[in-house]
């Protein structure tokens, strides 16, 4: 009986292989891609729930608001943009499903939130020839456009944020300082501290050491003491949300005069509300975007649109400063589409491959005052390596550094 079953299975397998051979390649190209005059579909792999919920909220709201406005004003060169956001909970299997769904809807580009997801979608983006963009996240290797042709960081990666912040501190305080780093244990945090170490070495400052906060740590008392014990002049940290608040609270208690700086996922109202305005006074952080509180042109445009259309301003704009990073992503998408239409003509068919070419032709783009100048090429997908530095004064963010770029990162692929 067993033999018969085996026979059945092998028969079926044979048939299956035969079927694939005949069925041919129906990967890619099946969905209606943004052909002439139709809406251009952009996928957003959202993460409003789970480990990076406030990133997901800020980015998701901003991208949707932005294209609602763009469409209401007649679209890009007359073409409307359809944003399709699918929630992934920051989990990989749902992200793979979401990507396939985007492909089916004919999406020509997908914006991804979270390093775990941008990593996971890199191979399928290449297989299906649909570019993914993930400004402000992702791993350093993806700057290399030849190794990862469909992955576009299009903004400062974690190590870049670190080197730029160190650069600003050295500019401010001189190179005779020691800088310590507190890393969040998951990869982005470690990559950040590696960047700090790199930059201190190449700028002639001293690296005081690294303290790591475990991803699942309930209590960071030991890490706070560790950070104080580094005896550094400045401490930079790459913690997020609850752990960032705890760390800042702890440092305020144990070393009130220590200057503390943050990576760009930790300059939010969460930290100010959680650790208290008094504690946060004088703390600083990096941001890849111009914060909404600076009222860049993009924010003005949104406010005008809301006023004209009589709709209420989105409260997330005020409540979650990561909305600014969302505007960064939205304006890069817009510019990508504009370049694509440049290539194929206003009624032409936009495909993933065209989008790739379009993104690679972005040159010196400033995203309505939201982004530092972005330039990408076939080889260099980094976009820029610059951040703004903000310091908290009187409970709100005050810009003290404009589009600062740090020294090159040692283990970054050479894309020059």
């Amino acid at each position: 009986m067993k033999r018969r079953m085996t026979k059945g299975v092998s028969l079926a397998l044979g048939l299956a292989l035969f079927a694939t051979a005949c069925g041919g390649d129906d990967g890619g190209g099946e969905g209606r891609e943004g052909s002439s005059g139709e809406d251009i579909v952009i996928g957003v792999a959202g993460a409003r729930v789970g480990a990076i919920a406030n990133v997901g909220e800020g980015v998701g709201e901003a991208v949707n608001d932005w294209f609602e406005m763009v469409n209401a004003n007649g679209g890009i060169n007359g073409r409307k943009v359809k944003i399709e956001e699918i929630e992934t909970k920051y989990e990989v299997p749902p992200a793979l499903e979401a990507f396939a769904r985007f492909q089916q809807s004919g999406a020509v580009m997908v914006a991804v939130e979270g390093t775990a997801l941008s990593d996971a979608l890199t191979p399928v983006s290449e297989q299906s020839k649909i570019p993914i963009i993930f400004p402000g996240q992702g791993n350093l290797d993806t700057v290399d456009g030849e190794a990862f042709p469909y992955a576009f960081p299009a903004g400062p990666l974690y190590a870049h944020q670190a080197t730029a912040t160190v650069q600003q501190q050295v500019d401010e305080l001189g190179s005779d300082i020691s800088i310590g780093c507190v890393a969040w244990e998951p990869p982005p945090g470690r990559e950040y501290c590696e960047g700090v170490k790199n930059a201190t070495e190449s700028l002639g400052a001293e690296f005081a050491g690294e303290v790591v906060i475990p991803a699942a740590a309930a209590d960071v008392d030991a890490q706070v003491r560790g950070a104080v014990a580094l005896d550094a002049d400045v401490v930079l940290h790459a913690a997020i949300f609850g752990q960032a608040v705890l760390l800042l609270k702890g440092l305020c208690d144990q070393a009130p005069d220590l200057p503390v700086g943050a990576w760009h996922w930790a300059i939010t109202q969460n930290e100010i509300n959680g650790a208290g305005a008094e504690c946060m006074e004088g703390k600083f952080g990096a941001s890849m975007s111009t914060l909404p509180s600076d009222e860049p042109e993009a924010v003005q445009m949104l406010r005008d649109y809301w006023e004209e259309s009589g709709s209420d301003p989105n409260p997330v704009l005020e409540e979650n400063s990561l909305y600014g990073n969302g505007l960064y992503i939205a304006t890069v998408i817009e510019e990508g589409i504009r370049q694509a239409l440049e290539i194929v003509g206003d009624d032409g068919e936009v495909t993933g491959e065209v989008m790739k070419q379009a993104l690679e032709s972005i040159d010196g783009y400033e995203g309505y005052g939201v982004t530092c100048p972005i330039t990408m090429s076939e080889k260099d997908h980094s976009g820029n390596r610059a951040v703004n530095i903000y310091e908290i004064r009187d409970g709100s963010w005050d810009r003290v550094g404009d589009c600062i770029t740090g020294p090159p990162v040692t283990n970054e692929p050479d894309v020059s």
Partner: protein, 347 residues
Amino acid sequence: METGRFHEKYAEEIAVYGTPYRRIWILAVLAVTFVVVPLVASPYWLVVLTLVGIAAVGATGLNVLVGYAGQISLGHAAFAAVGAYTSGLLVSRADAPFWVAIPTAMVAAGVFSLIFGLASLRVKGLYLAIATLAAQYIVQWILSSWTWITGGFQGIVIFEPIQVGPLDTTTPTGKYLMVFIALALVVMFVENLMRSRSGRAMIAVRDQDIAAAGSAVSPLRYKLLAFFISSAIAGLSGVLYGYNAGLVSTEVFTLALSVQYLAMILVGGLGSIPGSLLGAAFITMLPIWLRDLLPAVGIELSASVEVHLLTMLFGVAILLFLVLEPRGLYGLFRNVKDYFRMWPFSY
């Protein structure tokens, strides 16, 4: 007039083709799976079915442990990670061919799990659940801090696509076939395992360990065996995951995944292979259905509310099945089938 199906001989109990129709059914399912679906399904549905298949492999593996041996594991995602990283590293660093790497990865996942099994299965009770919870956290920690294993902070291991004749895992069809071939092999293995002495020994230990020990069936040995097999299959699902996505990174194999595997077999049906498959399909596709169908009937929920609602529904579904139909979806299906088969004399 049929009033039910009764086994009169022991051979009937363990027959693969319990009824003459069963053989036709199996062939029909195989034909649909391997011929019809790859020909007619859209790439999107192939992707979804591939995810279902990967989940089904993991769930079938877990069902060997929970359904047949009566033990709980909260660490199957960790064992999947061990499998995925072992095969990925063997291929990318040692240039091993995939047909060497995959079995090695399964054995590695199984052997690794035995550390936790040995600690907890010697004690009566559900200590394995606690030990495997520890395994989940320990593996996640190893992946993110021992960069000399994973090769960098992101812990990224690239899976070179398998390209054998027409089977090419860079296409949705290729991925689908790879996963369902593996699933068919796993199902065949587990089905046969349960007809063997070992499988029946596991069930005996689950139901009455003292009696089993009295019949020269060592409870520890068979619990460990079930755990080993179950974890090795979990390792295979990790490997499949890697080939499907093209790479693995440290943040993939989380506790949430382990709990989802449990939900699948509970909803599908404990101790039944069709149950594992049904449960995997149900749990994987429920979010998609909710997302697509709720707006169609005029209910617009924000993305986050929808996700939280789903998390809650998982819990509610498990509880309802536990209380009302412990045999799960497959049990429901059987009830309905029996009702109609014996109609009009259903009881």
